[in-house]
Amino acid sequence: MRARHLLAAAASLALGCAAPITVRPGGAEHPTVFRVSAYARAVVLSGTMTGWRPKQLERRGGDFEIAIELPPGRHEYRLEILDDSGPHVVFSEGAERTADGFGGENAVLRVRNGCGAGSSIQGEGSSHETELPMRKLILAALVAAWSVAARGDSRREVARADVPPPLVREVTARAGERGVPAADALAPLHEAAARGVPVDLVAAKVLEGISKGIPIARVNAVARDLTARLGTAGDLLRHARGVGLTPAADHVAALLDLGSALASGVSRRELDSLVEAARGAQGGSADAVVSAALTVGELARRDVPHDEAMSLGTAIARRGPRPPGEISSLFDAWRAEGGKDPHAFLSEATRRVESGRKLDGMVDPFGESPDRVVSERGANKNVEGNGLAGSDVGKKGAEHGLGPAERSDSARGVIPGVDDAVRGKGKAKGPKK
């Protein structure tokens, strides 16, 4: 048994990822599948799709797996590995992440063209997993019907100050399970309803806080912050629509993404400047603004100064939305490779975004450049020199550190004179365009 454990650990390490996690987003005909390969007692999933109730993954051989039908949209979740040493939150490699407001992080999953059988709020009770799909379906229908009606007209949003009964029942029940007074747990929902903010989003945050065992006072503070941010995000999206930008494809996801950006310190003034940038572009869209804001926010969470990240944000707002989490994932990979100067990363990312080129491949994993950035050839360069890290010349690795003619270890000249000049040139392939 012990040997098996060691083998499992060794195999995982040999694969380069200790607990490989795959998340395959579902579609119209397929459920979303979460799979974790780990030596563990159990693996549980909790998130907006389960009403933040932990749901255990089924053991299949050496893997843990669960398939859930999810509606299209933005979902937040967490996977936890339970073992003798306790629970451990794990994320799949490159997963989009967002701050949960409670000091931790959630993974973000975006489902497009789903079959719509899931729900963001799960019914009460903890031992009814076999009933889950039907309960979720009913609750989803109730919440969705209310949400659609409430969001259809912003004037009605403001006027409506009630909370849909299914949400009241769910939050009340969950609060009761944790010994939290229902009135305390429901207070943020009423405030959200009064402000015309989608109540289900605030309710999900309250359920998340309760599920994570956060004190209710802290949960309410976070929920109120979220309400304020969603209000600002709603204002911005209305403003964007008002100035002629194409409306967001997924309004709820846009609200949450803008809320996340605001939580990361992106200011309303910066958001307005992104709207202006998108407005000046042909086919400007709210999605581009949201993507830009989300990117600036994600970079801000990684201690990148706003003013530096805004140049990239402006480029995104002008050129169109990027895949969620793309740039933050690249930034993390760049940091992991030893990248230190965010300016080098941002300059290259901005150049690529502005020229419509792929960002994939801009991180140098082979140490060929001091700043760990692979520069696109032919892109418009800032000709101002800014030191070694900013120079494209002499960036290559050790083989280029000393010219071929200078090194004693270059092969004896095949064609004397030619070899010295030609050998060593172009050995490292430039980035694909």
Binding site: S12, L13, A18, G378, S408, V422
Partner: protein, 308 residues
């Protein structure tokens, strides 16, 4: 219990520390032709046309953010048309690098090579009075440290190697050591200058295979859009074990421009001038000064690359 906890901790901390090994394998082919006023400096074989073909392969591995490994191998065939001088060489190298951050890095490389010539070629192509060899086999170990400070990139390298050359059917063992020190300064994003001093010493039981050289290199690199331009000046003085002394000056201009994503055009022009003097009191006839013009145009085709 303890083992499980340890394993779990290891598994959960491993993703941050032990990234998946990333790699890249690439192959390229250099093929070109040109003109030379002589086969090598001081050969006296006259004007000639030449062509060269060099297929090469390279494997890069990123073992960790700070550890990189590269293996490369190439084969090169060159031929001068009129003089029928041809050469064939094979080389392979393995290089490990430690990246200490943006400020410095160090590398250690081991390389082996073999070259053979259809006619006698100088043991060192920069020396007109060096003996002719028909083949050489060499193994070298080199290390390089690059430090970025005060706006410069400082480079220090050391090389040690053993070489065996075949000269007039006899095998001549040689030992090589070299020390290089230099600095590179970027003047702009796409413009840089570099200077390197190189001291090299080749020792052998035969005095004409023994020589010491001091060389100074100055390199200007400039990128204009997609065009890479380079100009290098080499000034070298050598003292041979026979007592002869040589001074060499060489200027090389090169340009490379991508034609497609995988094909680049490269051009080189080099002018070399050598002045040699026999040992004082030598009865040998005086060595003539020699010059060499060389122009070479080549296509570099990167025909396969895969990364993971």
């Amino acid at each position: 219990m303890l083992l499980r906890a340890a394993l779990t901790s290891l598994l959960l901390t491993a993703p941050a520390a032990a990234q998946a090994t990333r790699g890249r394998v690439s192959f390229s082919l250099l093929a070109g032709a040109g003109y030379a006023s002589d086969v090598f400096v001081g050969a006296g074989m006259g004007h000639d046309g030449l062509f060269q073909v060099t297929p090469s392969g390279r494997l890069d591995l990123s073992l960790a953010p700070t550890w990189k490994l590269a293996a490369s191998a190439d084969l090169s065939y060159g031929h001068y048309v009129a003089s029928e001088f041809s050469s064939l060489s094979q080389s392979a190298a393995l290089e490990g690098r430690w990246l200490g951050g943006e400020r410095w890095e160090a590398s250690l490389a081991a390389a082996g090579e073999h070259a053979s010539y259809s006619l006698g070629a100088p043991v060192d192509p920069t020396l007109v009075s060096s003996p002719s060899v028909s083949s050489t086999l060499a193994a070298r170990l080199s290390s390089l440290v690059r430090l970025r400070a005060a706006g410069f990139e400082w480079r220090v390298a050391g090389v040690a190697g053993a070489r065996s050359s075949t000269s007039e059917s006899a095998t001549v063992p040689e030992k090589e050591v070299a020390f290089l020190a230099g600095a590179m300064r970027p003047l702009a994003r796409a413009l840089s200058v570099a200077a390197t001093y190189k001291l090299s010493r080749t020792a052998s039981e035969l005095p004409d295979f023994t020589y010491t050289s001091h060389a100074l290199f100055a390199l200007l690199s400039w990128r204009v859009q997609e065009l890479d331009l380079g100009a290098q000046l080499q000034l070298q003085t050598s003292a041979l074990g026979t007592g002869a002394r040589e001074e060499l000056g060489r200027i090389t201009a090169s340009a490379a421009h991508p034609m497609t994503e995988d094909v680049a055009l490269e051009a080189v022009y080099a002018f070399t001038a050598n002045h040699a003097e026999n040992a004082p009191g030598s009865s040998q006839p005086p060595l003539p000064s020699a010059t060499l013009h060389l122009a070479f145009l080549a296509i570099r085709w990167r025909f396969a690359e895969a990364s993971w």
